[in-house]
Symmetry: C2
Subunit: 361 residues, 2 copies
């Protein structure tokens, strides 16, 4: 079992990573302060893991469950309101704890619901996808999508603890496992070159769902991310490097419609675009771009824009991205393997060329 502490002053919290954690109440119970809990999950995860989780919660005065429809398309204010409806109908008060059992969508919505319900109640994350385990566990980003942009409505809000059980990955569709691996690779690229090299040697173990390899990777990503977030909790500076590949990826998701590409798939293609652009700028050499492509390909992730997506569609979609400050496009690029930089002076021509090199038309 791995465990680490995310250091954020009085909002610090632990992440516990391992096997056979879900049914064991000793991990969760110390972090639930009141006598009421509400598990927020979805219709896919509930049949697999809800019962096991609830076994450990039988001693509370009030244990409610809400099953939301599965998928990014339901990450909306309307779905959020269903959580509020239940909490109010069942008279949950300020001492309640929300428990997010599911992937990133469930985690983001549950965290945002916790941030807003009665102006803030406790919540705990039990991420059941690799993407959520490495990406949503650390950083406190919560929120929902808007038809005009992803994650445009939300809050920075920290969980009381995160419980990441590798056993839940055994039921994850292969495509979703790969999407999570995209984010895992991201940490190697932006801040952890030795980990990137470990991944080049261990990709088959991850794809085979070996619990020890997965737990090592999740632990390493959480530590890498925690180090970045601890420096910059509210994303005013360095934290932006975590968005490596995301500005391109969000454009793909926005144009394709949320849910047709998985988030991690869009990020994978976006990382190739960011690497291409870094290379065109002369910051990294073409050999490194090749290694990045090869590692993503080993995980069967997409390396190019969706069929038929136009350069202009990228440019339009990127103009509403949160990373646009006072009209200048800020991009996270690579300066070397394991070193990211934030750049706001990329010539439009280079950006267009990088997009074309990655299949945009």
């Amino acid at each position: 079992m791995h465990s680490l502490n995310v250091e954020l002053g009085d909002r610090s919290y632990p992440i516990v990573i391992g096997s056979q954690l879900l049914g064991d109440p000793q991990y969760l119970l110390p972090y639930i302060r009141g006598r009421q809990v509400c598990v927020v999950t979805n219709e896919t995860v509930a049949p697999l893991y809800l019962e096991r989780l609830l076994e450990g919660l039988s001693d509370f005065d009030k244990v409610d469950t809400i099953e939301l429809p599965d998928g990014e398309t339901f990450k909306t204010l309307d779905t959020l309101n269903r959580i509020f409806d239940l909490l109010l109908e069942r008279r949950h008060n300020r001492t309640t704890t929300l428990i997010a059992l599911g992937g990133g969508v469930i985690g983001d919505m549950t965290g945002f619901a916790a941030a807003c319900y009665q102006r803030g109640v406790d919540f705990v994350q039990v991420p059941t996808t690799l993407l959520a385990q490495v990406d949503s566990s650390v950083g406190g980003k919560t929120g929902v999508n808007h038809p005009l942009g992803k994650n445009m409505i939300g809050a920075f809000y920290q969980p009381r603890m995160v419980l990441a059980d590798m056993d839940t990955l055994s039921t994850l569709p292969k495509r979703e496992l790969a999407a999570g691996i995209a984010e895992v690779i991201k940490y190697g690229l932006i801040c952890d070159a030795p980990f990137f090299e470990w991944l080049e040697g261990n990709m088959p173990r991850l794809l085979a769902c070996e619990p020890e390899a997965l737990a090592y990777a999740v632990d390493r990503c959480c530590r890498d991310k925690a180090a970045v977030v601890a420096e910059d909790e509210r994303e005013s500076g360095r934290r932006a490097i975590l968005n490596f590949g995301h500005t391109f990826g969000h454009a793909i998701e926005a144009v394709q419609g949320y849910g047709s590409w998985l988030h991690g798939e869009a990020v994978a293609a976006g990382m190739v675009m960011a690497a291409e652009l870094s290379s065109l700028r002369g910051d990294i050499d073409a050999g490194l771009v090749g290694r990045i492509r090869a590692l993503l390909a080993a995980a069967e992730l997409p390396l190019a824009a969706p069929e038929g997506m136009a350069v202009q569609q990228f440019l339009d979609a990127m103009a509403v991205d949160k990373k646009v400050l006072d009209g200048r496009l800020r991009l996270v690029l690579l300066r070397a393997l394991g070193t990211a930089q934030i750049v706001d002076d990329t010539p439009r021509e280079l950006l267009v060329e990088a997009l074309r090199n990655c299949g945009a038309v």
Copy 2:
């Protein structure tokens, strides 16, 4: 001109109180950090004050305005979403500043929109009602209502500055002025006995809208409230005394439907109920209850429950109030003039008797 600073560490901000402030950009401009602003107002306030405010904002790159329908019934997630729609359609980014021009409903919704838009942008309050000037200017409470409870969805989020122009009160309906005075009286009762006595001698000046008297009262209330909030920003303890009269008042509003009684009117009747209960407990004498009734009556505020509202309706509505912790009803009562206390052991019979003494059937 009065001004004070609300001390909250790196979230500290000034409140400027006086006359002829609205059209003078020197007060607002230093607190707007980016090149984009969006004024959120309503259809009642816009024709009166919007143009004057916009004159001072002409130098920004992007100046948008959204006029919402007027009234507590529109303080909903749906209306909030209209603000997000506009901000995204007009491509406001993370450096934008929202400006709330209006009463408490506009301030609460604009503040919550600012808290959530792209996980947090700046906002400034320009409160145009007495209630908003004394109550919403300090404390950072933002949010919207839910059909099952008032202010159940929201955030603690601080403005960059508050500009309270007494001139805007000249167009306020008398009934709304009185509703604001209810909150003003509250500060005397819970923490400022000399101010209560000042109010006993100066009520006619307030009702006549004398700017100097109003500015003095607003300044004093903001200072009183700031002192309480500084001790307890997130309402874990002492801050709850600010809810004096509100648990009863919220029950009135919930049962009557938001908007039929003004918030301050419901709070006025609620303060009489709380004072009656304090007297029944033996904490204050009947003479003080009489003075409270007399001062509220001088402001033509209601002193009793709405016609026909039942004791049981109060009890049911109060059970979902945020002040209920783990099933115990916590009430803010008086221990003396200028001294509030939080009580969670009130016998149900005394509560019922106090409600009956105030007209509940």
